[in-house]
């Protein structure tokens, strides 16, 4: 096969744009794993709720019809609150029973949240009110302003998470709780509070990822987040679960792999490429590509 450099670069751009959605989602997932130590299968629903709330708040539900950026911020905060609520109702009461009951509960919770949404708004396809734009073309590479916006939003989120972890007290407490919860408690950190704050940040990142996904890939239905969860998991595990910087790197690699696979192998197996990488990583390097802690 002769490699066309234009097509190659175009595929890189598509991969980076999709990678940015995955990055936001996988950072959120990995943060919550870092402090709770279980894999949250209900995480995909945070993506779904983020997308749906943004659509409905922007579209006049709840008596409001707000500009999309404002609606997105409100949706992200609401999803963060939802994260805290589900952690208090479903996960805190069983937090001392080990990872397996928590994991099973999260699977059950994902069904509850998904079906509750379907019952509430129906299963009709929805779209974010974003205009359909012709792409800009710079040096033979095409991208739309929406794609650029998604990429920049993801970069800003990454930077914010970096600053949070490295420069704030909350970040330090999160890292301490993640490293050794008992020791953190002994040191006077209110770890329950830290866990709740982490749930908020994690779910809010999930909500943002859902909105970014919806901006790129409309229309969508209530199972959108659950369907995308495998991709987010792949990135999270590739980066080494519980490690935010690894998750960011893993996300861009998965985004690139999916798009290169689609372009140069077969477009019918996009998500299978993510899954293949996931399995390969688990077999060859189960701690992920990025060792070390937070």
């Amino acid at each position: 096969m002769v490699l066309d450099s234009g097509q190659f670069l175009q595929t890189v751009v598509f991969g980076l744009v999709e990678g940015s959605v995955i990055a936001v989602g996988s950072v959120g997932l990995t943060l919550s794993y870092g402090v709770t130590r279980f894999i949250n299968f209900a995480y995909g629903e945070f993506l779904t709720y983020g997308a749906y709330l943004a659509v409905f708040i922007a579209g006049g539900l709840l008596g409001m019809s707000l500009p999309l950026p404002v609606a997105a911020v409100i949706a992200i905060v609401l999803v963060g609150g939802l994260g805290v609520a589900v952690s208090r109702v479903f996960f805190e009461p069983i937090s001392d029973r080990g990872a397996l009951p928590l994991l099973i509960t999260s699977i059950g919770l994902s069904f509850i949240l998904r079906n509750a949404l379907s019952a509430w708004v129906g299963v009709d396809a929805q779209q974010l009110p974003v205009p359909l734009l012709r792409p800009l073309e710079i040096a033979g590479i095409r991208f739309t302003l929406i794609e650029l916006g998604v990429f920049l939003a993801a970069l800003a989120t990454m930077a914010a998470i970096h600053l949070l972890l490295q420069r704030t007290m909350l970040g330090k407490r999160m890292r301490a709780t993640s490293g050794n919860r008992s020791l953190a408690e002994t040191a006077g950190i209110d770890t329950t509070r830290v866990v709740r704050q982490t749930w908020f940040i994690s779910a809010a990142a999930g909500g943002l990822a859902g909105i970014l996904y919806a901006a790129l890939f409309s229309p969508f239905r209530p199972h959108v987040g659950f369907g995308y969860l495998i991709v987010v998991f792949a990135a999270t595990l590739l980066g080494g679960i519980g490690r935010p910087y690894g998750a960011m790197l893993g996300a861009f690699l998965i985004g690139l792999a999916m798009n290169f696979g689609s372009t140069y192998l077969s477009a019918n197996y996009t998500r299978a490429y993510a899954f293949l990488i996931l399995v390969a990583v688990l077999l060859a390097r189960p701690e992920g590509i990025r060792g070390g802690e937070f």
Binding site: I39, F41, N115, V123, A125, S218, I241, A267, L282, P286
Partner: protein
């Protein structure tokens, strides 16, 4: 291995295992096969799996086997009110030999697995005498059930080519085969007189990887080449993907003048928008699945303007006699419908044929069994006997001892040996968020 490494490994493996088990479901599995929608008078039909029904003042149960939940719930929602309307008419006319007709829903959820269990429930638990449905999506999964259990079906929704040579004994349809639909697309694309734009020479096909879409592929491709055109590429695309940029790029690389898009509404929106963003300058041709308001409402006018679409055309004789308008008014009163719905007239014809066949079975001195209904279906629909156009008219004629020939809203409804009908098509063009008719395509034009 330290504890952390162990947790990471075991957690990762558990995640992969669980995802492998969970990720493929696509839908929510929230359909429960749905409940019966009968009149609830407590008189349980005494039915056997073979579908024989005690008609002595009892009930005859008819199954409506369609998706009522999931992505194709709109099909059930379009068909059921028409079925209910005709059943009401049948019961108002005194039922079948004194027995009221009762409807039971079977929810296929648009999935073969759910379809099979819904079919078995309708046949074995509800003891239905006949079935309306299913769709092409689930036909292959349940086809054998009908003959094995001697339950006839008249489907207003399944155009699948897999029925082209299999029906005629237990399976009939009041919708054109996709073989004809595919030829219609090919003919309309090749001849400007049928599309009002141009004679298209080069066509690409983008076809979803499910039976309901694949069924169209071969007929369009073969017919377009037969009519002198060139198929630049015939791509299978995975249904339900997040984006189709790569597929659209491949399609554009083949440089078609028009692309026939055989996919779900949702995927078609993504594909046409990806085409718009990638600078595709050719046209699109859609099948019946997208030639509806739902597709245009979800899409952007600058993407859809000028696009061509295929629908079943109203049968001219029915239109001239005012029967189609009368049907629309009736459905507006019965279901509040302000506009026509996909498969509504097909369902009207399917139910009338079924009702008259049950009536004919009684007139022939038979019990209303599946076998007797199946035998009567071609009889009531074929000429040259007295032409009737509604259940009431036909039932009265049958009671008077006359053989009837039902003539419907979608066509004359003369089943061939495979249970198929021939009906005209309409070529639509999208403009500013609405479909308008560009041309009519009579059955003769497909020769």
């Amino acid at each position: 291995m330290d504890r952390r490494t162990f947790l990471t490994r075991s957690g990762g493996v558990a995640t992969v295992t669980l995802l492998a088990g969970c990720s493929g479901d696509g839908g929510d599995g929230d359909g429960d096969g749905s409940d019966g929608n009968g009149d609830g008078d407590g008189d349980t039909p005494t039915a056997t799996p073979g579908g024989s029904t005690d008609t002595d003042g009892g009930e005859i149960t008819i199954g409506v086997l369609l998706p009522f939940s999931g992505d194709y719930a709109w099909v059930g929602a379009n068909v059921l009110p028409v079925v209910q309307t005709i059943v009401e008419e049948i019961n108002d006319e005194g039922g079948i030999d004194g027995a009221d007709v009762r409807i039971v829903q079977g929810d296929t959820e648009g999935s073969p697995d759910a379809s099979l269990s819904a079919t078995q429930r309708l046949i074995n638990v509800e003891g239905v005498s006949a079935i309306v449905g299913p769709t092409s999506i689930t036909m292959s999964a349940v086809f054998d059930q009908f003959a094995e259990n001697e339950v006839p079906i008249v489907t207003p929704t399944a155009g699948t080519t897999s029925l082209d040579t299999r029906g005629g004994e237990w399976v009939f349809r009041t919708v054109s085969s996709d073989s004809l639909g595919g030829r219609a697309i090919a003919r309309a694309a090749r001849d400007q007189q049928y599309n009002s734009v141009q004679d298209y020479d080069r066509m690409a096909l983008m076809v979803g990887d499910k039976e309901v879409f694949q069924s169209f592929k071969e007929p369009v491709q073969t017919a377009f080449e037969e009519f002198g055109g060139t198929v630049t590429t015939a791509m299978d695309i995975r249904t339900g993907k997040a984006s189709y940029q790569s597929e659209v790029q491949s399609m554009m690389d083949s440089d078609p003048q028009i692309t026939t898009l055989i996919a779900s509404v949702e995927d078609s929106v993504k594909i046409t928008q990806a085409g718009f963003q990638a600078g595709y300058e050719g046209n699109w041709f859609a099948t019946q699945d997208q030639t509806n308001q739902e597709f245009l409402a979800q899409n952007d006018n600058q993407v859809t303007n000028g696009m061509l679409g295929l629908t079943a055309a109203p049968y001219q004789a029915a239109q001239e006699a005012g029967r189609i308008e009368a049907f629309r008014n009736r459905m507006q009163n019965a279901a509040g419908w302000e506009e026509s719905k996909t498969f509504d007239t097909n369902t009207y014809d399917a139910m009338n044929v079924l009702g008259l066949a049950m009536k004919q079975a009684v007139a022939d001195g038979n019990e209303v069994t599946g076998a007797a209904i199946a035998e009567a279906i071609p009889t009531v629909a074929k000429p040259p006997e007295q032409t009737v156009t509604s259940y009431t008219e036909g039932a009265q004629a049958i009671e008077a001892g006359t053989d009837v020939d039902y003539e419907g809203l979608v066509g004359p409804i003369n089943f061939n040996e495979y249970g198929d009908i021939v009906a005209p098509f309409s070529i639509k063009q999208a403009q500013d968020g609405a479909w308008t008719e560009a041309a009519r395509l009579p059955p003769e034009a497909l020769q």
